[in-house]
Amino acid sequence: MLFGGIDVGSLTAQAVLLEDGELRASRNIRVLPNPVDSARAVWTTLLEQQGVDQGAVQCTVATGYGREKIEGSGLAQNNVSEISCHGMGAWSVIPGLRTLIDIGGQDAKVIRVGSAGQMVNFAMNDKCASGTGRFLEVMARSLQVELGELGPLSMKAREPVALSSRCSIFCETEVLHFRQRGVAAADIAAGVTRAMAERVAALARRVGLEADVSMSGGVAKNLAVRAELERLLGVRMVSCPVDPQVVGALGAARFASDQQARP
């Protein structure tokens, strides 16, 4: 039995194929301007790569930006909110999971899930770039390093700088001033990591933490942010056994298989 999940985010889109309850394959692409085009691109290339005919997939669920339109286009038979999908996707691979910290390209969510993977509470920031992947992108640009270098660089810091602003635009100016004063890039990167983690930790405290805690979304790949969050929140994160960027699509595929299981 094959089931599908499609998750279109602000910067990337993912699709997964679930076979007999196991993750068979996943795919991750940069988004196109239109969410339906992104969904079609990621889903059809995944099916082609796996040599699977769309008709062989029992049910597919869409989530993320434009999920209703994706369902309407016929690519999916249903749609579920990204918060529920992230919670469900992560819980399905970490059975003890109760709190998921999902940091995407333009938002951050802290999702509490129950013992069956159902979403019970959440806090979200999608109004302000601060504390989202975009903050790290803007800071990497100011530091003139690749986004992927930011984490490793900040691990080499001796004396992290303190950023006094919350606003990404003001932080950008602060970073430039630190650079002009000759502060080591590693110390600035570590200050950026700390600022990022502080904002997400504040969001997490709003919903309250319950173990096990894990992370998803692109920023989960930044080990420095993850370590700083562990320190600020006083928890050990459980590593996500699948690519943390496909968790939303995986949750969507789980919902697809659950729906099919119902009478």
Binding site: Q106, C128, A129, S130, F135, V138, C167, S168, I169, Q180
Partner: protein, 256 residues
């Protein structure tokens, strides 16, 4: 009475020489990390322009967020006090002042004497501030001093759904890539600024006679769009609104 006032703002440092209540000379330079030297040079240049010796001044005062760093002036004044004082000197009936500076938006309520009785300030977030417009004008390729000229050619202002400067910058780039005319993008941005500024002012002093100060008040398109959103009567500040705090400092520097 000849006095000097200087305002070390977050983006620009301004200085004015007041001859009673008219501006004899004024200058503006970008604020750098070196406020003391900047102010000394600015004041020296200003006095040359005004044809005055420093000891001809009856008083001098400095204000602004960098004021603490400057050791040259006789005394320093709180920025909001300066803004309130300057507005009351020229506009008798204004109760609400909306100051949109380089990195802040502040609404001030004034009493009859020009004392600030209450204020609300956002300096945590660039949204709607001078810095916000600075970032956006760079993204769309229209300099700040050309905004009014460009907006005049707008046909249908581009929509903006975000408040955050970083997200709005992405929206600007999306509009540019979609081939939206720069005039329509800039008009949409002016509307976004007016929306952000007026939402603070409405919560704080709805219906009151108001004026606008700070650098953003120089942009007529923004002034008009704010006017459409506020009920109170608008009274323009009669001098360059970017110099308001410096003028207030100069007024407060008077020994009387």
């Amino acid at each position: 009475m000849i006095t000097l006032g200087c305002d070390v703002g977050s983006l620009f440092t301004k200085a004015v020489v007041l001859d009673d209540d008219s501006i004899a000379a004024s200058r503006l330079i970008p604020t750098t990390g070196n406020a003391t030297e900047d102010v000394e040079r600015l004041v020296a240049d200003l006095l040359v322009e005004a044809g005055l010796a420093r000891d001809a001044l009856d008083g001098e005062a400095v204000t602004g967020r960098g004021a603490d760093l400057v050791q040259v002036a006789e005394h320093s004044e709180d920025t909001l006090t300066c803004v309130g004082w300057a507005v009351r000197e020229y506009l008798e009936n204004v109760e609400l002042v909306i100051d949109v500076g380089g990195q802040s938006i502040t609404s001030l309520l004034l009493d009859d004497a020009g004392e600030v009785v209450n204020f609300m300030r956002n300096d945590k977030c660039a949204s709607g501030s001078g810095r916000f417009l600075d970032v956006m004008s760079a993204a769309v390729g229209v300099s700040l001093d050309r905004i009014d000229e460009v907006v005049a050619k707008a046909e249908s202002p581009a929509p903006f759904s975000s408040q955050c400067g970083v997200f709005v910058e992405s929206e600007v780039i999306t509009h540019v890539n979609a081939g939206v005319k720069p005039a329509d993008i800039v008009a949409g941005l002016c509307d976004a600024v007016a929306r952000i500024v007026s939402s603070q002012a409405r919560r704080f002093g709805q219906g009151k006679a108001y004026t606008l100060t700070g650098g953003v008040a120089r942009i007529q398109a923004v002034v008009e769009l704010i006017g459409q959103r506020l009920d109170g009567e608008y009274q323009p500040f009669p001098l360059d609104p970017q110099l308001t705090a410096a003028v207030g400092a100069a007024l407060l520097a008077s020994p009387e």
